[in-house]
Symmetry: C2
DNA sequence: CAGGATCCCGTCCGATACTG
DNA sequence: CAGTATCGGACGGGATCCTG
């Protein structure tokens, strides 16, 4: 049979739609920006250009792996730029691009919100947990 | 032996420090806010109070599970409030709390940044991929 | 309508060890 | 100093089915 059933057509539509969603560009990008390490790295660089290890020292608890990984994707996305100075030992500096600058203010604001409103969130949690016994 | 070796002391310090980091409150909170679904839900509610299924319809590709899970944690954190109207069928409305309102502007700004600057990021990626062969 | 429960697979990421 | 490589456990989150 060359014709498809309604169920088959619906299934195909669902597959197409899912593929579209996975490729949905802006959602993908938002997913990238919605990353704890991205926020922290970009906020750190907001203070000015810095070396790899300086960034690592500024951000508590980041592993070399995540730091490199985050910096690489940010470089690929045109948000940070990477400059290698071939001395001994090697020196690598990172800084925000103009595009990155435009983002940094926003992410830093979110980070600062987390810092300033943490107490309110904490008390909200306690109240919620009190009202909703385990 | 009651005394500890230097290595043991260092190890203990590392464990304590790790525990501190895991509990580091603001970083934890930032991790929560740095969530794709949180951004989308809060941005959606920024337009005003809405029903569960309305939010689901506004956000492309969200599963009931993630929607509920996200709304629950946001409610627990005092960012959204949940109102049940016991009719038939049941009706549940969500809206931002004042605390949530103060956050929503920031997250919406990030979401809009992703939408407006997507093209720049895309071309940056293409250039990067061209310069850095696989 | 607004979810809860369960299964389960992919990926994230921390720990560890090695290199130019 | 600034990474790279690999392993393995944890967990996010989609699919599916069920309920008040």
């Amino acid at each position: 049979m060359a014709t498809k059933t309604a169920a088959q057509r619906r299934e195909q539509a669902r597959i197409d739609y899912d593929a579209f969603l996975r490729n949905c560009p802006t959602n993908q990008l938002l997913g990238r920006l919605s990353d704890k390490w991205v926020s922290l790295v970009v906020s750190a660089l907001y203070a000015g250009p810095q070396r790899y290890s300086d960034i690592g020292r500024r951000i508590a608890g980041v592993s070399p792996k995540m730091l490199t990984q985050t910096l690489r994707t940010l470089e690929r996305d045109g948000i940070v730029s990477r400059t290698v100075t071939p001395s001994v030992p090697v020196r690598v500096d990172y800084e925000l691009t103009p595009l990155g600058q435009s983002l940094a203010g926003l992410l830093t604001a979110v980070k600062e919100w987390a810092e300033t409103h943490f107490e309110e969130v904490r008390t909200a949690r306690e109240q919620y947990d009190g009202e909703n016994p385990a």
